[in-house]
Symmetry: D3
């Protein structure tokens, strides 16, 4: 169960409205790597965590924090939209190209749909959706997804940091950047912890090593003609799992037969060479021609 306090985790006050920037900031709310994603992702991971104790507790701490980040960003967007020229007409824009440019760069739904507030969408107005959630039950697989989320998130935040001069916006983004730094470190530490606790290894899942075709578990197939791919440490030496030696397959050949499907049953009407089909079809064709 959750509790809420009216105060935000950190301040979210721009000095000036900036409706074009308000559209861009939507990426951090409802984008693939926005705060709605980490909120829902960590919540589902926490609920799906099958071990009581430090892992589950930590996941729920951070999940609960992220929800507060959506709150900060939604508040910032509403304030950036203060006084946005949502009622300016074609005539006004005709007389003031700067105004026209602002109208052109705004998210129309922030006015028409939400009445001057944020929407659960990204900077192109595409709605957030549940396929952004990663919660597999395997903590190593999911913590890797989380390092990624915080990396992409800090990257987008850094890009947005350079797109504004507003001291108030920058102040909030400095907090977001710091939290993303923390969370990248946190998930990296958690990955190490999983290994230290003997719970997971290097490869996910830590199983089926005897079953998989071992001869194909360490080869780089050279399928594009750029020659430099053999120069990386992914093409020779010991692999990170300590269990394989990388090698480079310079001229790879296919190992399987031709890709081909069986003839489906008649009633699915796949086009085939088969005689009986042809006869029936020929009959119809003839009928076509004669009638």
């Amino acid at each position: 169960m959750f509790y809420h306090t009216k105060r935000m985790q950190f301040e979210a006050k721009p000095e000036q409205p900036d409706p074009v920037y308000a559209r861009k900031l939507q990426e951090l709310i409802g984008g693939a790597w926005g705060e709605m994603t980490v909120t829902m992702r960590y919540l589902f991971q926490g609920w799906n965590c099958r071990m009581e104790g430090k892992y589950k507790d930590m996941i729920m701490d951070i999940a609960t924090e992220e929800m507060g980040h959506v709150e900060m960003l939604a508040t910032m967007v509403a304030r950036l939209l203060d006084g946005a020229p949502s009622d300016k007409t074609a005539e006004a824009a005709q007389n003031d190209p700067v105004l026209g440019a602002i109208i052109g760069g705004m998210d129309p739904q922030q006015a028409i749909v939400s009445g001057g507030g944020a929407t659960p969408s990204d900077s192109n107005g595409y709605p957030w959706n549940g396929r952004y959630v990663v919660a597999s039950g395997n903590l190593l697989a999911d913590f890797r997804a989380n390092v990624t989320a915080e990396s992409q998130g800090r990257l987008q935040t850094a890009r947005l940091y350079h797109m504004t001069d507003d001291p108030g916006v920058k102040n909030m983004l400095k907090f977001n950047l710091a939290r993303d730094t923390m969370h990248q470190n946190q998930w990296l530490a958690a990955i190490e912890q999983l290994k230290a606790d003997g719970l997971e290894g290097t490869v996910v899942p830590n199983d089926l090593f005897d079953e998989e075709h071992r001869e194909h578990a360490s080869t780089l197939w050279h399928l594009s003609d750029g020659d430099a791919s053999q120069e990386g440490q992914w093409a020779h030496g010991t692999a990170p799992d300590g269990d394989h030696e990388f090698s480079f397959v310079a001229n790879p050949e296919p190992l399987g037969g031709p890709a081909s499907g069986p003839k489906p049953p008649e009633h699915l009407y796949a086009t085939t060479w088969e005689t009986d089909t042809m006869l029936r079809k020929a009959k119809n064709t003839v009928k076509d021609k004669l009638t």
Copy 2:
């Protein structure tokens, strides 16, 4: 530019049809972590890579390989559907519960839409979409996404491995498992390579450390009442980036003011306490009542 050979990278021949399993296998084709995702993800990363040389060449090698994996899986699905009871009627199912169960467990679109072949969808029939692609231009951020993709991919493959007894299916999955092992190792090695080459550090992006609010870059906010979250190595000691000391904020308080938005312009009709609005509205209400 691409070339294609008719033979598959590895064999994809089931011993027996199994239409219910054919539905499940769709997850590896068009799911969030399926082969279409890694194909398109690596292609866009390769095209978006701004450095000629080993990184770009390696990305294109693996991108080109993944496309061949879609081919293997699509072929396997078509063969698993061979003889599927797609034309069996209610009466037939009434008399044969096993048949009824198979019909119920099949993906209806594999018959009605694709005529006995695979579709670009996941195991619930949801179509693959471009938001699964991650190609930010920052290689560390993207390689972390790639380790994740290969981890989730091998995890799902391993789960599917246990859901069949068919030696032919298992033979192909053993190859897929091995390639996912290779690719997890490969992207992990590539991350090390980026650091060894002095191109990226631990935190993405490797910048704005002086700008971010440093005091918030290493604290775990304890926002859920599970006490164990402080026991992990994410709550004390040096962070993986070597630059921060983790600490635990046991009783965190909000730092910002209340979350509140400004009053939008009248013509957006947000409900507010403001007098002028109330007057106008009162007037209308009165008018409502009088008329």
Copy 3:
């Protein structure tokens, strides 16, 4: 900012696993009217509320509660999936039709993707998305949406209540039904409060009554040949806003001219009768025939 406690708002313990029911219950998590919808909807409404005081506080109370409902349902789904036959093969199903039916009726992603847990999707595996959120800034418009959400939600919960015999599941649903009763009443009361406070009227938005074409603001156009539509109280008498008299237009005729678009510029290649286009096209056609 939010806080979380590990205990759920209400108990969520089934007596028996039931993987087929676990799929159905997804509708209440990630469906259009599920708990994710009301959580996100009320959160965005609260953040988008432009009046400090009782309305905003109440919205945030209920928003915070709903998030806990997602938690209860996700927990219930995980427990219903306990021991689900996710690894049963075609051969096993062949020998046990009941088992086959269960496999056929399960959501495959609950095993393959989330490893025995809930997903942020509905009962057909379609992901939750942000277009389900309604937060317009106009409280009357949004509270009507909220009454609807709680009505559809209680309706679906009631339907699901009849689809199980499990006392543990029923116990939780009895709580959910009660909360939905409360929340329907609560939003209905809030609508009355808006009117009592003189903030909103009957029609949304409470404006532009002088501008709209009044003669079209109270007529029922009879466009389908069922004769009974004139019998309802929507076709005669005073309208709920107290400001209009309903009337029935028995034989409505169109008031506008024909629906037709202007000829777009040549370079968009719309097909038209225009001579110059025809000449150019004729020229090409002739060229086609001669070459």
Copy 4:
């Protein structure tokens, strides 16, 4: 079965083209609350209505009308796009900032995809989809959804009314506003009619009141620290259904146990503390290290 007449229900003629406004108007065509939504929603409700007579006939009347509204809006959009600068190049925009602003604010698909016509999408280019349809079979639940749709629809229309000066556009919107006023009143009247006919009550569905946990059916849980939520008439007094007394739970405590999931089967590879798993994993980890 349907018939169509070429004339529109009302005139849809702008005085001037305005391609930026043509993009905004898409919200009323293919947005969540646009005319496609009410068309399809009422059609499915009508087809799904299980009572012959006035309700079904009225639903079909209005459904049939709404389709004509899509026609009016699509016509208006095509006319607003007349002469839109869809072929203007970067150089032209460089020399004319007003032109540049117009190009920037246009929906590119209205030129590239539909050749100067409307698309079945909203003002951000997101396509209309079937999850906007509400047709549950329960008329009270659905009529509430319909009041909402007409409220959100009139709200958006009113917002758009202020964004243009064009007398022709305003003339059409005055008709749309009037129809939305009518339809809000109509559905409100229909809700009263349902009660007057003894078909539905206040709470949806009108059942399971003895089964639900009555003690939780009238309490407001105070989960956010804004104190004013107890001041509304939703926190004390008789509820709108006449059957409950509202009360305020000032310091709510969770009633359930901790949210936790059972250990899934080994083959799903959830990370757990369990010994046997740890042994196997430890074995693999050792093997990792030794090899």
Copy 5:
């Protein structure tokens, strides 16, 4: 503007309920090639048609008809769901495998969401969406899309025809098949008419033949190693437009330079070899290591 009559274009009465078939039939309602697609597609084509006269009138005739087909199918689905075991519990299914199979094969939303009616979704529960609409303004391009739609539609109808024994269902499908036959012929005839009227040629759009690189307008690039592709009449002889001679490029080589992107600005943090970036990054890396 539209009118509606209560009677359906053709009868839609099954002899027996069949809830599993009711799910399959959804493909013809809300699938990519279902009746909602042709309804909306033809309506938008009609409204977007820039020529008064026979083309526009014919498009509107068929558009109006298709809407009635959605009505027939929605009615059929509701009747097929009559008595569907939507309230049967796990225990009941345990005792009756046939019942279990039926429950497993049903669309759960047809009970939980629509209360025993059709939904605007396909047979996998994926909602219909506006990207299925094709209305480009170019009649040849769109009529080709329409021939396709009627072809895929009749194909799916034919497949579904074989999946039932119910005489009532088959009776309706025989009508649908006939209409699809008509409509395939109709659009094929309309394509011929366009050419006969001198409005369009063979290639869409009928322009830019002098501008396009003519040497690449008739060559088949042999990029997959199947040798037979040169045997078709697409590899030699005169092309259908009468203006080109097909030829076969047996060993095609790329004509362009390497695919590479420019270095983006520093503030987008793309990983590059550039010295200044490296210096800054190296500095940070050193700082990482020293701290």
Copy 6:
């Protein structure tokens, strides 16, 4: 299996950056008719083709080529974005309306998400998805879809050709136009080939002509009041299949009964007139009133 060469099929070098055009060009990458569509469509058609030989080989040739077109377009977009003002702030735009217009017209995700590269989305930022793929197994149905794709594709390319003055962009588009000309001709030739080989006829599928209601297989129902629809060659004369005579039904009447659904079971709570329901409901209503 696939191979890749670093060189592109054709050159993709603009003379000048043009970030607004870079957004528009996304339509050709990830739009419904973009290169990702034809790539995936032809690949799935090839894999789903059930006849070894010329058809399958030709499909795979062209599928493999299309993938290279995505590469060309993605490269062009990256180059058009060179130096895009992605870091320009509100202040800068205030001082330079041209700059403001450019920022307003850009796709924000091309900077924030992909760091100066293309995304797998269309010109409105909507992601490509798998429902654009058409691969039914019936070659006539699919080849018609392919003619359509190449027609819509060339149409959009031609429109885009007129929206730029850049010689480098135009040079690439001239190649694309030529290939689309070739591919329209190629699929038209393939359709003729299917008939010449006796594999398919005119109507898809070539079957069930004796079963369908023949009397409805050649009539144009006049359902919209435009009189000219009878003037086309689709209303009289022999149909393209040579087997039917078109006719015009000037005053069509419905053939079916009223569209009505059966009463669903009580537990689905559809609103009905039925007495027992009414009794229960009345009871509750009374209870409502008395309490």
